[in-house]
């Protein structure tokens, strides 16, 4: 545990520091679009390389910790790299990189080229830094800071351009996020008062010595705070309200990453801080309700972005279900499912961005003929949509299969009910995406109610069409866009890359499931984590 691997993992703080420095540089370069773009992409590529290196080291199932500034663990800040956190880092950075390339190819910020565009790149990098910090954090307060970094960046990205709809959505989002952060801060204060430490490994040792009642209060406080961030049922109302109004790439990256950071924090809470099954029943009930309520909301929507936002919250329920099982199989399936969910949701939101660009709207009542206009787009929607619905052989099916097996292993009546609910939810998900498919892709554009001129004009001029065909019309809203191609190759390409990553999750499901199993074993037995942080102090210090 001392030599080569340690030196690699001790670069872990760079996963946070690099994007922050990159953000500063990108902000300085705000007048030079090309170099700003280059800096952002370069930083993300380097970060991804570093994180892949870390993942390759912990792939076999080991846990390392890095103490910042050489302060001994219970006092100093430590960062912990284990299979789960490294895996989440790699997946999240792949997704952020793909979305970034998509956004740059779009000419970003749909139209308002000169205004707030220069802020997009720095804010985006800060978001990535916050996400990385949350995944690596080895103490609760650092986790809080990670959340705040990513939330503050997300406020900026969500209200980009400051239009009426975005300000309205942004207000709800900011207030809800701040409220959840305050709850988290209060929980940290209470935990510090009760246990005298905020280091997570130290807490794992000290919390069991506290009385049951106090433990329960602290546990619930943390779960509520993280539940808001992860959009778990009674606390999920804000998500479908705020996500759909943001620009497509922003919604895509939010959908992929932000809620999963909340889920990650819940997993750490359940496995590391409060192991055992104190709140197992509560979590199971909440998971079932999250799945059902979310998907019923999705079926009612006519806007694809809103529909996807509802499926997003609904499928968070699957993850909570996996966590609530408390066995290794359930946890392994959850880890696999998180990766699947990040990739698939993001690629679907990117596809909606393409649909919006091509058809002028994301309302399925006003769309049609898309399969004829652009077969590529249809394929790009179809694969992740079937994947989301859990059709074999895609990764969604494999993840759900793992969860169902985990549930069957627990075997309580409630677990069986949840298995039923999860299958029902999968079916309803399929119904929701099939509605989109039938209307937006298969139906003739002429049958749509009030179709966008862009859609109708383009029906016959399928490939290579540009906004010019409608730009001649007086008062056209398309003439000022940065990139005039209707479906720019870069945007289609990056969506295709993410769809392929989703397929790779299916193709390499064998090794990935083995890996998730090892990672799950690591986090279920919290001694690994505690030893890595507290036990190996002397080895880590240099």
């Amino acid at each position: 545990m001392i030599d080569a691997p340690l030196t690699a993992v001790s670069f872990a703080p760079l996963a946070v520091a690099l994007p922050i420095f990159g953000a500063a540089l990108a902000f300085i370069l705000r007048r030079h679009k090309r170099s700003q773009r280059l800096v952002t992409i370069g930083v993300l590529v380097i970060t991804l390389a570093l994180e892949s290196w870390m993942l390759s080291i912990v792939w076999g199932g080991s846990t390392y910790s890095v103490t910042l500034g050489g302060w001994a663990p219970p006092f100093g800040i430590s960062m912990v790299v284990d299979g789960f956190s490294a895996f989440m880092l790699v997946v999240s950075t792949i997704v952020s990189l793909a979305v970034l390339l998509y956004a740059t190819s779009q000419g970003m910020a749909d139209g308002d080229e000169d205004g707030p565009v220069s802020i997009f790149h720095p804010a985006y990098l800060i978001l990535v830094a916050g996400v990385s910090n949350a995944f690596l954090a080895g103490d609760l307060f650092n986790l809080y800071v990670g959340f705040e970094i990513l939330l503050t960046a997300s406020y900026v990205l969500l209200t980009l351009g400051g239009t009426n709809a975005r300000i309205r959505a942004g207000t709800t989002y900011v207030v809800v996020s701040v409220a959840s952060s305050l709850l988290f801060l209060i929980a940290i204060a209470m935990i510090y008062a009760a246990a005298g430490t905020v280091n997570m490994a130290d807490l794992a040792v000290k919390l069991p010595q506290i009385s049951e009642g106090t433990q329960m209060v602290l546990h619930v406080m943390l779960l509520v705070a993280f539940g808001i961030k992860a959009a778990v049922f009674p606390l999920s109302f804000w998500l479908p309200d705020s996500y759909p109004t943001a620009p497509a790439p922003v919604t895509a990256v939010f959908a992929g990453l932000l809620t999963k950071v909340g889920v990650y924090a819940i997993i750490r809470t359940e496995t590391l801080l409060f192991p055992g099954n104190q709140l197992q029943t509560l979590l199971m009930v909440v998971a079932g309700l999250t799945m059902l309520v979310g998907i019923l909301g999705a079926v009612a929507q006519t806007d694809i972005k809103r529909m996807l936002s509802f499926t997003l919250t609904s499928h968070i329920g699957f993850l909570i279900f996996g966590v609530s099982l408390g066995n290794q199989l359930g946890m392994a399936a959850t880890i696999y499912y998180v990766a699947h969910h990040i990739v698939v949701q993001t690629s679907l939101f990117l596809v909606v961005g393409l649909i919006e660009r091509r058809g002028g709207t994301s309302n399925i009542d006003r769309l049609g003929s898309l399969a004829k206009i652009s077969p590529v787009l249809a394929l790009l929607f179809f694969i992740p949509a079937m994947n989301l619905g859990g059709i074999p052989p895609f990764s969604g099916f494999l993840g759900k299969l793992g969860l169902v097996q985990g549930g069957a292993e627990v075997g309580t009546p409630l677990a069986w009910v949840l298995i039923g609910v999860s299958l029902l939810t999968s079916l309803l998900t399929l119904l929701a995406v099939a509605r989109v498919w039938n209307r937006a892709f298969w139906r003739r554009a002429e049958d749509a109610t009030d179709p966008d001129p862009l859609l109708l004009v383009g029906v016959n001029a399928a490939r290579g069409a540009t906004y010019d065909i409608v730009a001649d019309e007086p008062g056209s809203r398309y003439s000022d866009r940065g990139n005039t191609a209707l479906l720019p190759n870069g945007m289609v390409g990056m969506t295709a890359v993410l769809v392929l990553v989703g397929l790779a999750l299916t193709i390499f499901a064998g090794p990935l499931f083995d890996f998730s199993d090892r990672a799950a074993a690591q986090i279920i037995d919290n001694n690994h984590y505690i030893e890595a942080v507290l036990g190996s102090t002397t080895e880590v210090q240099r």
């Binding site: 307060f141 800071v145 705040e148 503050t152 406020y155 900026v156 209200t159 400051g162 239009t163 009426n164 300000i167 309205r168 959505a169 942004g170 207000t171 709800t172 900011v174 207030v175 701040v178 409220a179 952060s181 305050l182 801060l185 209060i186 940290i188 204060a189 209470m190 510090y192 008062a193 905020v198 309200d241 759909p244 009612a300 929507q301 006519t302 806007d303 809103r306 509605r435 039938n438 209307r439 139906r443």
Partner: protein
Amino acid sequence: MSTNITLLVVMGVLFAVGIYLLLERSLTRVLLGIVLLGNGANLLLLSTGGRLGKAPLYDAGLAAEEYSDPLPQALILTAIVITFAVTAFMLGIIYRSWVISHADVVADDDEDLRVGQQSPFDFEEDSPIPEDTTEFDGEETLPGSDTKTKTETKTDPGEARA
């Protein structure tokens, strides 16, 4: 661990008033609520430090128990900075909202209201589908074929349902 009763009472009042304001529709009040809640949380953090002691600067002659706990203070400083940033951003949003719509309230989502009011009958999905007996376009119009009459006899789902 000893706690200061005045701090506790002030904290309670801050939380109560803050939550009340947070539930208002007016954005400025919501912001004030957030500020109060933030301060309440900071006081809570401060009181977790326990008994007051000497400033946590190293002094060779002082026993470890004599110092006050420096960690809560560090946490509060961080929390203050974060609350400050968020408050500034909220003010920006409120101002923008006022510039755009001259309103200082949280508005309802139009799409939400529309989805709530939509009729359970969906033309595309719920209207009766005329039964198709042939998969070939235009076959029924071929002269001399009797497919057309067949289709006509079968396509009245309303009757069939009744």
